[in-house]
């Protein structure tokens, strides 16, 4: 055994909280605010961090990551904003329908996979829809440190543009909002071209938008290291499959509507994770044997690793075929 302290459980450390406020913002988005049950302060976090919220949904434990959107300097409260996804797996619906003020919940310590690069001369943010949330915290952090930033925020319509009015009122010259309903679009190429040296770009939003910003920036000669993005993938349903976990010495069934990671947890296997969205790399698992095809869906492994059949990210990826044996 190494001398390093071993963590008792997978995932980040947990915090017991009470829901201190539930604030509907529009038809789709609601803000949830938390206070610690023990009355103490939360750990400070760096803007861009997320927390994993544990939901007890009729015997089933749902664990969904949400960006912390509150001011990082305010350690009395953590806040997240949740967009209701009627077609989703149910986590956001659970939050909207079953969580009310005063409820006890469990969330994890913040984990940051989308931090500001504080060496930047300037920060330019691109938000799509609910992708605005991490930027709320980033803006608060940069305002305090006199950082140089601007925000380009695309939303479906004025009604659905969460926080747009408040942001524009507070920072009229830094905030630019674009509404699909009014055929407005971010003039990305032009914006990226005109930035001073040392600018860092950040994008959070739908997959297509993230791809668009990365590709356009690369075409214009932006260094890869200056473009940051965060996309949590929700695990997608798929055909059920069977997995042998050789270290735990059990064979488990992964149902249609659960991820491989969730199935392992359901069967009492303490599998590592942090983001549960294919982004952090924590859940990487070695494949011992397989015959069949992988359905890799993560952003962590590269193409060669996907093709090798030697690794899988159980939080989002699936498998189709005869045998799958994992080193877990």
């Amino acid at each position: 055994m190494s001398a390093a302290p071993q963590k008792a459980k997978a995932g980040a450390e947990k915090i017991d909280v009470l829901v201190s406020a539930v604030v509907p913002l529009n038809d789709l988005v609601t803000r949830f605010e938390f206070k610690r049950t023990d009355g103490k302060d939360f750990p400070p976090f760096s803007a861009g961090a997320h927390t994993v919220v544990e939901m007890q949904d009729e015997g089933r434990t749902r664990l969904n990551p949400y960006s912390l959107m509150s001011d990082p300097a305010d350690t009395s409260t953590y806040a997240i904003s949740v967009r209701r996804d009627d077609q989703g797996r149910g986590g956001s619906l659970f939050m909207h329908q079953n969580v009310s003020q005063g409820d006890p919940m469990v969330i994890t310590y913040p984990v940051n996979l989308f931090a500001l690069d504080l060496r930047a001369r300037k920060h330019i943010f691109f938000a799509g829809g609910i992708g605005i949330t991490p930027f709320m915290a980033m803006i608060a952090q940069l305002e305090r440190s006199n950082g140089h930033w601007e925000l380009h925020y695309a939303a479906r319509s004025p009604e659905l543009a969460s926080y747009a009015t408040e942001l524009k009122a507070k920072h009229p010259s830094n905030v630019h909002v674009y509404y699909d309903s009014e055929n407005q679009a971010i003039d990305l190429g032009h914006l990226l071209e005109g930035q001073p040296l040392g600018t860092h770009a950040y994008v959070c939003g739908p997959a297509g938008m993230i791809q668009w910003v990365h590709t356009t920036a690369a075409e214009l000669g932006w260094p890869e290291d200056n473009v940051h993005s965060e996309e949590f993938l929700a695990p997608q349903p798929g055909k059920p499959f069977q997995v042998r976990l050789c270290r735990s010495d059990i064979t488990i069934d992964v149902g249609e509507n659960e991820s491989l990671l969730e199935a392992m947890e359901r069967c009492g296997v303490d599998a590592p994770f942090l983001c549960r969205g294919g982004a952090c790399g924590q859940c990487e698992t070695d494949v011992v044997e397989h015959s069949g095809t992988f359905d890799h869906r993560d952003h962590w492994l590269d193409e060669a690793e996907h093709a090798s059949g030697e690794k899988i990210m159980p939080c989002v990826s699936r498998f189709l075929g005869e045998t799958l044996v994992l080193d877990r």
Partner: protein
């Protein structure tokens, strides 16, 4: 032959690549001496590159050898100067006016590459995004760790610090901040016991 393959060394020692044209609307190329050859090869690889390029060239002991050929390659601007110190103001001015997407190419001696790299990273370009190619002399820019003075174009090991006169041993320990290798006194314990200087990499 202006290319030299440096043997593998400690992590601190910079490694150099081969310049390749990159997408971007403006390009800054800083070269000294035989570095001109790398720029000419770059121009050959992409005929549209030079029209959007600003070349800052320090011929050093190559004199006029490459200047006409560089001009013929058709850069948008070509500056030919006597030393890095003389070119610094111009480099800062170009970087100060530049926007994201500027591509930086550095080629020639290690001293030139290191110092130009510092100017570019100071304005916020990550060092991983700056291309470098070593050409020409393997002379080094050395800092004396004792008096902190810099001796340029060191070609032998050991050498005499041009500031304090100590006999310094040439090491691969490099400082990115100073753009210099670190030289350490070789005869501190037994003054006067100095090995005969040998040419670097000979």
């Amino acid at each position: 032959m202006s290319k030299f393959q440096f043997p593998e060394s400690i992590l601190s020692r910079p490694v150099y690549g081969t310049l390749a044209p990159r997408p971007g609307k403006s390009h800054l190329m800083i070269a000294d001496a035989e570095g001109a050859e790398a720029l000419l090869e770059l121009a050959d690889r992409d005929e549209n590159l030079m029209a959007n390029s600003h070349i800052i060239y320090l011929p050093k002991d190559t004199g006029e050898t490459y200047v006409d050929r560089l001009r013929a390659a058709g850069p948008n601007q070509l500056y030919v100067g006597p030393s890095f110190a003389a070119a610094t103001q111009r480099i800062r001015h170009v970087l100060g006016q530049a926007h994201m997407g500027l591509q930086v190419y550095l080629t020639g001696t290690e001293g030139l590459i290191g110092q130009a790299m510092n100017e570019a990273t100071a304005v916020g370009i990550p060092h991983t995004a700056i291309q470098t190619e070593h050409r020409g002399s393997v002379a080094r820019r050395m800092q004396c760790v004792h008096c902190k003075g810099i001796t340029e174009d060191v070609t032998t090991d050991p050498f005499v610090c041009s500031h304090c006169g100590l006999n310094l041993f040439v090491r691969d320990h490099y400082s990115r901040r100073l753009a210099a290798f670190q030289g350490v006194c070789i005869d501190a314990e037994d003054p006067g016991n100095v090995p005969d200087p040998v040419e670097l990499y000979s």
